[in-house]
């Protein structure tokens, strides 16, 4: 007899990793099914590589010969948390009720108060550093000490203050002191290549591995799920997968299924699972795709031009400019915040644009090197009918499955935010005393959100406030896809808090035999 798990979780990133660990700790028998391989986070990442070690000067995602990060359906145990930048905000009440506040987009069916205890639970188990800032729209949590500002942060903060704005210490799921048996960060500055000491959170080392001790969790890597299998009774009964290497097919059976494949891939999996899309009686699956968009201003801070190079890459960005537009007069809805200084020093594509040639050019680049900063505002998109996720049956991936296709059309409101945030970014950098090198002229998509949105009404949403699909009672979707609105804040902490809340709900329902 094949094992029938209590819950089959597909995807092992921030959402799936959190959900599976919390469920296993609550006593449920859980299988986590991940398309990618098991990655040894201590040895397989090129954290300490330099570009000249490679003929094309590109540091690869994994060390040569090590598998992982091959495709969106096969990243590896840990998903994108292996290479994320760990910025971890709580959303504020305004983020959950954007429509009520300014009329655009959609409200969440839950409030900040519903999620606050779970944000705290996550902070207490993974460790988040930050300062207590007392901001209304960016609630404080339970923090480890923040990382100090960089020289560049001090200059930018001074510029921002001239314009009446204030920066804060970034909040990251990175330990600034040893805790939970993990070391504190040693500021080696290449977090997005993978942290090989796990000072930075990743779901494999921090959530999944410890949960193995419960004896309730089984990890099934290298299993690219192609379908959520349905029974005749209208309930999900497990998943069908293709082995990443052998391409052999297999099944994992469960009493409940949770799809946690990272927004676009979760939507795609539901679309692959039934004609017209599984759990799509509302017709909303794939719609309301609302990725964050980023701008960018690249500049050289005068105060740092020609100064001796300092070993201060830190854990990338150390400061943040919280949204300040909510309370100001503006001709658009929603807002933006800004990360800055998260470029590291291994990339110097900007040197192409430095004028001149010869010894003078060489010196100019050397002088600019310590002073280069990228200022990156993040804007919130409101849903529109021309932005959605669907399948491209004409384009098959390496497993023979249709690719997921993103359609994004920027509307007037998005362009207004984009132009305004680029203007502010320029003004702040100029006020900080900087020479501007480049201003991006188009928005670029970032954190992917929407596509299976959460709501109380089964006619206008795909999942209920517990991330359970309205149509299939034992099918859950957990990740950015369920966000009805995006906020301008990095989303992952909210995904983890939602996963913790759903896990508690599922465990309680399972105890009553209601799942």
């Amino acid at each position: 007899m094949a094992t029938v798990y209590d819950v089959v979780v597909v995807g092992s990133g921030a959402s799936g990793g959190t959900l599976a660990a919390h469920l296993a700790r609550a006593g449920a028998h859980v299988a986590i099914v991940e398309g990618g391989p098991k990655i040894n986070t201590r040895t397989d990442f090129p954290t300490h590589s330099m570009p000249w070690e490679f003929a094309n000067r590109q540091i690869p995602k994994m060390k040569p010969g090590k598998p992982g990060m091959e495709s969106e359906r096969a990243r590896g145990l840990g998903g994108k948390t292996l290479t994320w930048n760990a910025v971890a905000w709580r959303f504020g009440q305004r983020d959950f009720k954007g429509k009520t506040f300014d009329g655009g987009g959609e409200d969440w069916p839950i409030d900040y108060a519903d999620l606050a205890p779970y944000y705290e639970r996550i902070e207490r188990e993974i460790g988040v550093c930050g300062n207590y800032d007392g901001l209304k729209d960016l609630p404080d949590g339970v923090f480890l000490p923040p990382a100090p500002y960089k020289c560049s942060d001090k200059l930018i903060d001074k510029g921002a203050r001239k314009l009446g704005l204030k920066t804060i210490h970034v909040r990251k799921a990175t330990l600034t002191q040893a805790k939970f048996g993990r070391p504190g960060c040693h500021y080696c500055g290449n977090c997005m290549a993978g942290c090989d000491v796990v000072a930075k959170y990743n779901s494999y080392d921090v959530h999944l591995l410890p949960a193995m001790k419960t004896g309730k969790l089984e990890m099934i890597p290298n299993a690219v799920v192609r379908e959520v299998m349905m029974g005749g009774d209208g309930r999900a009964r497990g998943v069908k997968f293709i082995h990443r290497e052998t391409k052999a097919e297999g099944e994992v059976l469960g009493k409940a299924v949770a799809v946690c494949c990272a927004c676009v891939q979760s939507v795609a999996l539901l679309q692959m699972s039934a004609k017209g899309g599984l759990a799509n009686s509302s017709g909303q699956l794939g719609k309301h795709f609302i990725p964050h968009f980023t701008g960018g201003v690249e500049a050289f801070l005068d105060g740092l031009v020609g100064t001796p190079l300092k070993d201060d890459e830190g854990f990338l960005d150390h400061a943040y400019l919280p949204s300040f537009m909510h309370e100001r007069k503006r001709d658009y809805v929603r807002s933006f915040g800004a990360q800055f200084g998260y470029q590291n020093r291994r990339g110097i594509g900007w040197a192409r644009e430095t004028p001149g040639m010869g010894a003078g050019y060489k010196k100019a680049v050397k002088d600019q090197y310590p002073a280069f900063v990228v200022f990156s505002p993040y804007g919130e998109m409101v849903p529109n009918a021309k932005s959605y996720i669907d399948l491209d049956h004409g384009k098959l991936d390496q497993y023979g499955l249709p690719s997921a296709r993103r359609q994004v059309t920027w509307m007037a409101n998005d362009w207004k935010i984009f132009k305004d945030m680029q203007n502010w970014s320029k003004e702040i950098m100029l006020a900080a005393g900087a020479k501007i090198q480049k201003v991006w002229d188009e928005p670029r998509t970032n954190h992917e959100l929407g596509g299976a949105r959460m709501g109380k009404d089964a006619r206008t949403s795909v999942v209920n406030p517990y991330c359970q699909t309205h149509d299939v009672k034992n099918l859950f979707v957990l990740d950015g896809s369920v966000f009805p609105s995006a906020s301008e804040k990095n989303p992952t902490h909210t995904m983890m808090a939602l996963a913790a809340r759903t896990a508690e709900h599922m465990a309680a329902r399972a105890k009553k035999g209601e799942l």
């Binding site: 003929a55 590109q58 040569p64 080696c188 105060g303 010894a359």
Partner: protein
């Protein structure tokens, strides 16, 4: 072709555009089978794509763009081999380079660019450089210069001589505490 242009811009600047950490090498499409060290070398290696004569021209141009000073120049940093590697894999670049090399032969009236004296070389390159710095360029010579400068820059500043010796980047020091900024900025 917008993609390819982006791709070229992106090389060596992954982290500057780290909003797209996964885009760079996917776009650039050069990461298969290329894991191998390119060491700095003084003598020109055998080119894989360019003819020996063209390779010598490019090497000489690269050395004028980033000359040896108190630290190595483009040649010793292995930049010519890097340019050979990149252009050999990129048809759009190949067009710019073959047109540019033909243009250069006309300027030198059949003599090899690498054999010209410093003054003569600079007399050709400096005006091109000035026009490239002034704004968008269309001329064959200018486009060629811009391409050589871009790849020289990418190749040099990502080399051990450029990034390590000239810029002083050590990379990945393990620090007990963050070196807090105590300056009066």
């Amino acid at each position: 072709m917008a993609e390819r242009r982006d791709a070229l811009k992106i090389i060596g600047s992954i982290s500057a555009t780290c909003a797209f950490p996964f885009a760079a090498d996917e776009l650039y499409a050069q990461h298969e089978g290329t894991h191998g060290a390119v060491s700095g070398q003084a003598a020109l290696p055998e080119p894989a794509y360019f003819s020996k004569a063209d390779f010598a021209t490019i090497a000489a141009m690269a050395e004028r763009i980033i000359p040896a000073t108190d630290t190595p120049g483009a040649g010793a940093a292995g930049v010519p081999a890097y340019i050979d590697f990149v252009v050999g894999r990129n048809p759009a670049q190949q067009k710019v380079f073959s047109a540019g090399l033909a243009w250069m032969k006309k300027q030198t009236k059949g003599r090899a660019f690498a054999e010209l004296g410093e003054k003569e070389q600079l007399a050709i390159l400096e005006p091109l450089c000035a026009r490239c710095d002034a704004g968008p360029v269309k001329g064959t010579g200018e486009r060629f210069f811009r391409a050589v400068k871009a790849l020289t820059s990418d190749g040099y500043w990502t080399s051990k001589a450029g990034m390590g010796e000239t810029l002083g980047f050590k990379g990945n020091a393990i620090l007990g505490a963050y070196p807090e900024c105590l300056h009066e900025h």
